[in-house]
């Protein structure tokens, strides 16, 4: 069942296509992270969904309602902005109350001076105050309610912004890089809190970020957007272990995936050092240029020093729980990054010659247009000379 559905959303600004037909379905209570480099159109997509921009083409369905013709105010979509966008002249309590005041009070009840004279205004206002306080208690900001945004820290403002978005129980929750203005420690802490809040609210949430760690750690599914297209929408594990496109593989993963240009051999296989992977003959002709990718954690230093590709260590980065090795392959002059455990990396230093081994079953092969090609490891070891060809 889909709660929220975007179909073929297109948008261009003064002739520049920003979104090239993006489609996305979110289940009820699903947390989807939209991740991509800056300028990929992820924030624009969020704004279109919120009703702050209009799409050139495509439709937005919430359940069986078509949202496209509705103004932002009627969509019942809440959004947390990167800058929090709190009203600077209002206290935290007033900020959180605004969406309730606009929705629960009639136009007459909202009027200054006259409003309080309207029937049942007092009751409605009391209900709003109670809701605001409950929300504040659940976000642990009830001691800040009388402060204005200027008197609060970044983390506190972010909570107020969350409170303002959640207090009216929206049917969709949008977040536009809500953590990017927090310092690193707070950010990791706030991740967990947002996931917890989302679980409690139970509404579909779209979370825009350029930080892959946030996307992978928080979301049920991750949508990778690059250049206005959604290249892959899948669970974090699939995005990481089974990228559908070279750009997805390149964007997700820290340190970045190793990519080597190569060509399909006459026997329909591709070789990298001692290992070989086969490609289905019917899809790829011999001599086709392809790119091989392997994640740094599947590159290892040969213990025996006999097998693997000869390389020279350029730089060693010690990160505590792991060691990142930047090596230069002697044969093809490419840089390879390897991620090792401290035990594996002990004693390695810049300038040392090593032999690098690759896990054959962790190799990705991408076609020239970036698509992933199905590949299977082939057991026979071949010489380095073939790999170079």
């Amino acid at each position: 069942m889909t709660a929220l559905s975007l179909r073929g959303i297109e948008k261009s600004f003064s002739g520049n296509p920003i979104l090239k037909g993006v489609s996305l379905d979110a289940g009820p209570g699903e947390f989807i992270a939209l991740v991509g480099p800056s300028g990929c159109g992820k924030s624009t997509l969020l704004r279109i969904l919120a009703g702050l921009e209009s799409a050139d083409a495509g439709e937005i369905m919430l359940g069986d309602r078509d949202l496209s013709p509705m103004p932002a105010a009627d969509r019942n979509i809440a959004m947390v902005f990167q800058s929090y966008a709190l009203y600077p002249h209002l206290t935290a309590a007033q900020n959180i109350a605004v969406p309730l005041i606009m929705r629960k009070l009639t136009r007459a009840q909202r009027l200054p001076l006259i409003g309080p004279l309207m029937p049942s205004q007092r009751k409605a206002v009391a209900a709003i105050k109670r809701d605001v306080r409950e929300m504040a208690v659940s976000l642990k900001i009830d001691h800040l309610l009388d402060r204005k945004p200027g008197q609060m820290s970044g983390g506190q403002r972010q909570r107020v912004a969350l409170g303002r978005a959640m207090v009216r129980r929206p049917s969709v929750f949008l977040m536009d890089e809500p953590l990017s203005n927090l310092d690193a420690n707070l950010r990791v802490h706030a991740r967990g809190e947002i996931v917890e809040l989302h679980r409690r609210a139970g509404v579909p949430t779209l979370y825009v970020t350029h930080d892959q760690a946030e996307a992978l750690s928080m979301a049920d599914r991750v949508a990778v957007m690059i250049g206005g297209s959604m290249l892959q929408l899948a669970s974090p594990q699939v995005i990481y272990d089974d990228p559908a496109h070279i750009e997805v593989a390149r964007f997700i993963g820290q340190p970045r995936i190793n990519l080597f240009p190569s060509q399909v051999g006459a026997d329909g296989t591709i070789a990298l050092g001692d290992i070989r992977v086969g490609l289905p003959r019917e899809t790829v002709a011999a001599g086709t240029s392809v790119t091989i990718g392997i994640r740094p954690e599947f590159v290892s230093v040969s213990r025996s020093g006999q097998q693997g590709l000869p390389a020279r260590i350029g730089r060693v980065e010690f990160l505590g729980s792991e060691i990142i090795l930047y090596c230069r392959l002697d044969a093809i002059g490419e840089t390879v990054v390897a991620k090792l455990s401290p035990a594996e990396g002990a004693g390695l230093a810049a300038g040392m010659p090593v032999r690098l081994e690759f896990s054959a079953d962790q190799l990705f092969v991408f076609a020239e247009d970036g698509r992933r090609l199905p590949s299977t490891p082939v057991d026979a070891a071949i010489s380095l000379e073939t790999a170079r060809g």
Binding site: R47, A50, G51, L52, P71, A72, A73, I77, A78, M79, F81, Q82, S83, A85, L86, Y87, P88, H89, V98, P99, M102, R103, R164
Partner: protein
Amino acid sequence: MNAQTFTLGRAVRLSVLIFGAAIFLAPYVFMISTAGKAQSDIFSSSLSLIPQHWSYVQNFAKALTRVSMTRLLFNGVAVCALIFVFQVMIAIPCAYAMAKLKFRAARLMMMLVMLGLLVPIHATALPLYVAFDRLAVLNSYFALVAPFTISVFGIFLFLQFFRAIPDDLIHAARLDGMSELGIIGRVIVPNAWPAVTAFAIFSVVAHWNDLYWPLIVVSNQTYATPPLGLLYFRAAEAGDDYGALMAATLIITTPLVAAFLLAQKRFVEGITMTGLKG
């Protein structure tokens, strides 16, 4: 800068400033002095600041009795207040639309505003006078107020200020359920007080002191604004009684001077904020 050190450079700077201030203040000081002089003092050949015969009481009595001073002051306050209220009511939504809404005519409107800034009231005075005459609305508050209700300067000033208000704030307000007018009333205006104050100062000073336009459209004392009233006072009542005239001038300038002294800080803020002509 350390206030304790008194160097030569500082002394020179201060004396230049004091000299400048004295030049600017001199007419006002002279006005205060003349307001207290008897007729014989004013026309004596010697120039002195201290009146020889103190006649403040007589002069002020004349100024207050011979012309309806309360009427003048009331007209001044009413006209300035009406002009200011209408200017703000028109300029704020207009500037908001131009700064934050996307519409096709935005560029054209911006050009018109810039053009409007270039056209002085003196160029449009005659056509406006003819039109008001045909409409038979000369000698009314309407004639005094209407030409100034749309202030391109106000639009321009608010436009610059609103452009600095983050878009996200307005997006948040829309998502919270506010209409565009609601956004202006609940988000823009409460955050635009510095701009409104600055504009109030420019507007009130300009229209309180304006003689040109009231002189054109008002010939009836009932609608005379303070500067125009002074003119009548000199022509009809005072003749060459400069003591009483200066006393009347003093009464009329006092409200603005008092307002300036009270809001001095804001005044300076307003000017530095716009960095524009007054």
